[in-house]
Each structure stands twice: as C-alpha cells, then as structure tokens.
C-alpha cells in the first residue's frame, strides 16, 4: 500500500516514501512513526503530516499523556519528599521537581510551594526508563511564565485539543481574547488552567475551549460570538 502525506494511516502501515527520502538526506520522524531496519512503520492511527525539510509525524487522538522532553505541562504537587516535589502530570508515574529549579531559589531560600498547588513547568528529562523531571526555570535561570499558578481553574481535555488550540492558525484564543480579558495556560499533558474576572467568565472560556474540539475554524469563530453574546446578555 502506498502512503502519501495527508492520508489516514493505521498502525502497521509501511511508509516507503520516508525510507526513499532517507537514502538521500536526513529525515526526522516524530510521534506515531517507528523505524525498523530500513523501513518506517506507523504506530498510531491518524493523519500523516510533513513539514519541510523532511520532518514527518502522525497527528492522532489521545487522552493519556506520555512525557516527552521540552514540553510545557501543568501538574499538581502531590508530595514533598526531601529536596524534591512530586508532581502529578497525568503520565504513568509522577514527575520530580527539585526545589532548586525555581528562579532565585537557594538551599536557604526555598520556594513557597504547598501540596495541592498547580504548577506550570517544563519537562527537562523524559525517558521511558526514568522518572520524568520538571523545571520551573529556563536555561538562563529566569522563570519566564513558568511557576506556581495561583487561583484560577484547571480542567482536563484530550491532548489533540491542546495541540489544536496552541496551533497559531487556530482562531479560538484570538476570538475569545477580543471578547473579555482572561489568563490561560495550556499544558501539553491535556490540562488547561484559566483565570478570568468572574466565575461566569471562567466557565464560559472553559466551555468554549471544550466545544472547539470537533469544530472547524469557521464554526469556532461563530461559536465564540455566541458565547460572548450569551455572556453579555446575562451580565446586563
């Protein structure tokens, strides 16, 4: 069977196109693809995608998070164990977060993190054989946007919805931010944190995001307008 970019693929399909390119030049294969000797096989159901030059992956639906390096995630602190915090990220085991990996933290000056706090952090180490490790600083020691998220509301969604709303071409956040102010953090582990001025606005943002999962770009825009008019109607 011959596969081309944009096709629906199932696990076990062989992609000869990628192996042909790989003979001549370097190829990067992402999630959903696997190399076995000289062939490339699909491991996840979805749509085969390509980005120039020669990066391939499969866009698939998934709810369970599998840690991978460099991703920004939202987790809850579940345990303080000596010099690390254990953070539940929704994966198969909790991630470790050292108290020294916060901006300005020293052995004397510990960060104020309590059990139950919601953390926006970056995956530093993620390997199938090791416990994942998080950091709340970048390589310059600055916290940027990472750290403890105070107040707000956290809810879960599928991983593909997170990728969809974070895609720069997705109109959802752009349309919503025009209507009323709110803060949002989306973790690649399928958790979204939002903070708006009132409970009603928070729920409206949450529902708009969850409703966007199966909508096209056009429908998302009209849905955002609907949500905004309903909200305005109740407030006045």
């Amino acid at each position: 069977m011959n596969l081309s970019i944009g096709d629906v693929v199932l696990p076990g399909d062989r992609c000869d196109e990628i192996s042909k390119i790989a003979v001549k030049s370097k190829v990067l294969i992402g999630p959903g693809l696997r190399r076995e000797s000289d062939n490339v096989y699909i491991t996840k159901p979805g749509i085969l995608k390509k980005r120039n030059p020669n990066t391939f992956w499969v866009d698939s639906y998934q709810k369970r998070y599998i840690p991978s390096r460099g991703e920004n995630i939202i987790g809850t602190v579940i345990q303080k164990a000596g010099d690390i915090f254990r953070v539940d990220v929704g994966g198969s085991c909790p991630a470790a977060l050292s108290y020294l990996s916060f901006e300005g933290a020293t052995k004397k000056n510990r960060p104020e993190v309590q059990i139950g706090d919601v953390i926006y952090a970056k995956m530093l180490v993620a390997s199938k054989d090791m416990e994942p490790e998080l950091v709340c600083v970048d390589s310059h020691g600055k916290k940027g946007r990472l750290g403890v998220l105070t107040d707000g509301f956290v809810f879960k969604s599928s991983l593909s919805l997170i990728r969809k709303i974070l895609n720069p071409s997705c109109p959802l956040i752009d349309s919503l931010k025009k209507e009323w102010p709110f803060e949002i953090a989306a973790g690649m582990n399928g958790r979204i944190w939002i903070k708006a001025n009132s409970m009603r606005e928070t729920i409206a943002v949450g529902n708009a995001i969850l409703a966007a999962e199966y909508l096209s770009d056009e429908d998302i825009k009209s849905m955002c307008n609907n949500v905004a008019s309903i909200l305005a109607g109740h407030l006045s």
Binding site: V8, R14, Y61
Partner: protein
C-alpha cells in the same frame, strides 16, 4: 462516528457498527456490534501498577472480561487469555516499560462470534486510546455446517447446527495469523480452506477500521 453497513462484494460479514470514545473518562473506548452481538471495551493506560506486576521489558497487559450475568467463570478466563495474548503481539509494549495497560471488556449481547467481536472491539478501543501499536488485528469466525460446508461469520442459529467452529485473528501488515482456536471436529483440508477464507475476509474488517479512523480524523483536524 457511526458507519453504515458495508456493501460487501465477495464475502459477507455481519454488518458492523461502531462508536469510538463511547466512555468519557477512560483513555480509549469503543462499542462495536457485529450483527446482533454487542461488546463494549474500555482501555486505560499506560498507567502505574503494583511493583509485583511490573515488567522491566514491557508494559503489563491486564484484561478483564465481564459477561452479561456478571458472574466470573472459567470460560471468561479463557477469553481473557486469548485477548491478552493477541493484544500483547499488537501493542508496542517495549515503549512503556514498568507500566500497565488495563483493558476491560463488557459483553452486552451474544448472538454468536462473541470472541471475534471482543477482539475487534478491543483493537478499536486501542486505536482510540492512541497506544503505540505494531499492527492492528482483525478476528473472523467461521463455522462448518452439518454437511461440511464453510459458513463465514455464522449467525446464532448456524452455530447451533454446526459441527465445528473456528476463530482466527490476523495482523494487518503481512496478514499472518496471530491467534487461532477451534471447537468441534473437522478435516485438515477444511481447516486450511477456512483459514484462507477468513484471511481474505479479514480485509473487510481492516477496511472498516480505516473508515472509522478516517471519520474521526476529519473532525479532530
């Protein structure tokens, strides 16, 4: 995510209808009907399990089969084993060592071909959960009637009057048989003939999988 009964050309399988993501809380779920037989499967994982069950090399698969009555029986353990071993060959467990994948199967209606329906439904639930897989699997049932003719995907009545019943599971990449078991008596030639018949019929199941996946791929964007 529903699909119309397929227009079948050469072979006739009972019409298949499926809905993915049927349960909101589990990582992957699907409900599948093949004719009047209906099965619901939920997949959770990879998740943390007791260290006694952990394997250093690959993910541990736990399969629970509950029948309509809810009373556990030896026949259910047998089905669990068949499905566990079939799925172990399909799932790339080496990517998730020291974790567990839980598969829960609920029988809803049984009018023949329950194991085949359970295997196909489990495969669809695994596809929905996004667990990395080596290949997909398709199960096909075949009966030998009282005069020795082969009946593909038999109905409840045909099974009652048959002298032998065979189940085959095939993988998608090379169409090799991964699981096969039989009940009753038959000749070696009949077995080989049934194997080839089911192998070609498995294409219909794979085609059905692809249709289901393309339907939901078009909406997630």
């Amino acid at each position: 995510m529903k699909i119309e009964p397929e227009k079948l050309k050469h072979h006739n399988l009972k019409p298949m209808k499926c809905e993915l993501n049927y349960l909101s809380k589990s990582d992957g779920s699907s409900i599948l009907s093949q004719g009047n037989t209906v099965v619901l499967v939920s997949v959770n994982g990879p998740l943390e399990i007791k260290s006694a069950y952990q394997s250093m090399e690959k993910a541990t698969l736990e399969v629970l089969f509950s029948n309509k009555g809810g009373k556990p029986s030896v026949a259910d353990r047998f089905k669990e084993n068949v499905i566990r071993q079939t799925c172990e060959s399909a799932i790339l467990g080496c990517l998730f060592p020291r974790t567990g994948i839980n598969i829960t199967i609920q029988e809803l209606e049984n009018y023949g071909g329950l194991v085949a329906c359970a295997v196909n439904c489990t495969c669809l639930a695994l596809l929905n959960s996004g667990v990395a897989m080596r290949h997909v699997v398709a199960a096909v049932t075949c009966a030998v009637d009282d005069v020795g003719n082969l009946v593909l995907d038999p109905t409840h009545e045909q099974i009652q009057s048959s002298q032998a019943l065979m189940y085959f599971v095939f993988e998608s990449s090379e169409k090799n048989m991964v699981t096969g078991f039989t009940e009753g008596k038959f000749s070696e030639d009949t077995y080989l003939e049934a194997l080839e018949l089911c192998r070609s019929a498995s294409d219909l199941v794979f085609k059905f999988y692809r249709e289901i996946v393309s339907k939901y791929c078009s909406v997630i964007g």
